[in-house]
């Protein structure tokens, strides 16, 4: 039995369909990742799963409880760390945890012990009696993760858990998440738009414009890209792309331009044994090559291949408008 089962879930905000009939299952003990750009429908899906939003249609079952019919049972089964902080800044860290323990009915006899343990885990024991308003962003996030675990949830939802945090704190938080999975067999459901973060997941659902475009392990997803990724900067990308297609039969794509006025900032293609191909390319191709970059495929490449656009592509087009609406919708 899967811990989460989602069937044909949709959510509309007015005319905008934020989630377009997605289905997936999450197994117990997994670290399941939702990967996609801002506004792809990640937070909307999480909000439905944690009973903050009702779906427009479709079904979601968590720990054998339907999120619409049994919201209280679902809430008891989950821990949540939101994208935006949700602490009472005028209480101390300890008081925030006590409030949480009480409201989730943690037995009084266990309360102090559990609070002590989670505080140690996130290394906040020494600052537990400080008001949260005096905490840094990273400390707040760590406190929220500690709070999310206090009632031993079956599933811990982490919505962009490390957004806006420095790399050191990000690593720190990931160490906690991995420990948790090992010690408590907690299922972790997280959303992210950081590719390197998604690599930590057991399985990843790639989501874009409200649809799941792929669902697999990070290594299988990367295998889809096939071989290495070779990126070239040339004097004229269009001509270079055409030549490579004709002479080598390669499927060459343009790298979306980062600056105004140019169409592309290089070309890229996938190829087996890219390191051996480079000498051949230089010898045989009559191209004005400025630079060559060879690398193993990353989830960025997977995302680009699956959706046709980069994950952090932020341009003033229809999609930005769409995303701005999504952001309003999830408040």
């Amino acid at each position: 039995m899967s811990i989460i089962e989602v069937n044909n879930l949709t959510k509309k905000f007015g005319d905008i369909e934020a989630v377009k009939g997605i289905s997936f299952k999450v197994e117990e003990g997994e670290v399941f990742g939702f990967l996609g750009p801002n506004g792809a429908g990640k937070t909307t899906t999480i909000n439905i799963l944690c009973t903050l939003l009702n779906p427009t249609s479709g079904e979601a079952v968590l720990n054998n409880f339907n999120v619409v019919n049994n919201p209280n049972e679902v809430r008891r089964s989950i821990g949540l760390v939101f994208q935006d902080p949700s602490l009472d800044e005028r209480l101390t860290a300890r008081e925030n945890l006590e409030f949480h323990a009480m409201i989730y009915n943690v037995p009084r006899s266990e309360r102090n012990e559990r609070i002590k343990n989670v505080l140690e885990m996130v290394e906040l024991s020494e600052r537990q009696n400080d008001l949260v308003r005096n905490y840094s962003g990273g400390m707040k996030r760590r406190l929220e993760i500690a709070r999310g675990l206090l009632h031993y949830p079956k599933v811990l939802f982490l919505d962009e858990p490390t957004i806006g945090l420095d790399p050191q704190t990000r690593n720190h938080i990931w160490t906690h998440i991995r420990e948790l999975k090992k010690k408590e067999n907690v299922t972790v459901f997280l959303t992210t738009h950081y590719m390197d973060e998604a690599e930590n997941c057991s399985r990843i659902a790639v989501i874009d414009y409200g649809e799941i475009v792929a669902l697999d392990t990070p290594s299988n997803l990367k295998a889809q890209v096939g071989g290495d990724v070779l990126t070239l900067k040339t004097g004229n990308d269009e001509i270079a792309a055409l030549r490579l297609k004709e002479d080598f039969g390669l499927d060459v794509k343009l790298v979306p331009s980062e600056s105004e006025g140019t169409n592309s900032s290089g070309i890229y293609f996938e190829i087996e044994n890219g390191d051996k191909f480079i000498p051949k390319l230089i010898k045989e191709a009559d191209l004005n090559i400025l630079s060559i970059n060879l690398r193993k495929p990353t989830l960025d490449d997977v995302f680009l291949k699956l959706t046709g656009h980069a994950i952090r592509e932020e341009k003033a087009d229809v999609s930005t408008f769409h995303r701005a609406h999504m952001r309003m919708g999830r408040r």
């Binding site: 903050l52 209280n72 809430r75 989950i78 949700s86 009472d88 005028r90 949480h100 989730y104 009915n105």
Partner: protein, 247 residues
């Protein structure tokens, strides 16, 4: 659906926050003191009945404090929304009705504490309070505070940001205060104003307070209490309804 334990937890948090904020408690005493001693003395002198007038407005000022504190406490829900803490409450495994009730009791307790603190002004305005009077005042103050906090919750559930607060101040709190007869007797008023005065639930609350403190009143005590009680029942129902529709 309503869990007493849940109500207690929500209540406890509001009380903890209130007791921590000593500056706010003291500041909340300053405004009523100004109204009572400056406005009371000034207006009293102008109508040539200085001592009587201060005594007359004293229950009205207690009512004013209950009004302001109740609404402010309820409006803290909007702060909770802005700071994100409301989400923590809304995803907790307690019903929305429980949250609304907890908030209503929390706000009314805080308002009652502030109202009770004003009782130390009694000797300075020439009112002597017996133990029984204080007990009666507690009961009436609780009724008033509970109704007003519930009303505040209804408003706060709709208010998405604190920017709307000025509107609440100008179009809800000040009219409720000024029309309640806190500052003047409800006699010989023009018909339009008489109507508005009767529509103001605080009118009956303050009338009941005044009945107990100095024996002057426009309505009978049972009538006033029934009016406050009915208003409170309607408002807490609305508040529970509004909270159940929160997303």
């Amino acid at each position: 659906m309503i869990s007493l334990r849940g109500v207690y937890i929500i209540w406890l948090r509001d009380i903890k926050r209130f007791l921590r904020d000593r500056a706010r408690i003291i500041a909340a005493m300053a405004q009523p003191a100004l109204y009572l001693f400056v406005l009371g003395t000034g207006l009293g002198a102008a109508i040539g009945r200085s001592g009587d007038y201060i005594k007359f407005i004293y229950p009205g000022i207690i009512g004013m404090t209950l009004l302001f504190t109740s609404i402010f406490s309820a409006i803290s829900i909007v702060w909770d929304r802005e700071f994100g803490f409301l989400k923590e409450i809304l995803v907790a495994p307690i019903s929305r009705s429980t949250v609304a009730l907890g908030k209503a009791f929390g706000g009314s307790t805080i308002a009652m504490i502030q109202g009770t603190m004003l009782l130390i002004f009694a000797p300075f305005v020439g009112v002597s309070l017996s133990f029984l009077m204080v007990l009666k005042l507690f009961a009436v103050m609780f009724l008033i505070a509970f109704s007003l906090t519930s009303m505040g919750i209804v408003v706060a559930a709709r208010l998405k940001t604190m920017e709307g607060f000025q509107m609440i101040m100008n179009f809800l709190m000040m009219p409720l205060f000024l029309l309640s007869g806190a500052m003047f007797p409800l006699k010989g008023l023009p018909e339009w104003m008489n109507f508005l005065v009767k529509m103001d639930p605080l009118t009956y609350g303050i009338d009941a307070l005044r009945y107990i403190v100095i024996g002057i009143h426009s309505y009978s005590l049972p009538y006033s209490l029934v009016m406050v009680l009915s208003f409170g029942a309607v408002m807490i129902s609305f508040a529970i309804y509004a909270f159940n529709r929160q997303n």
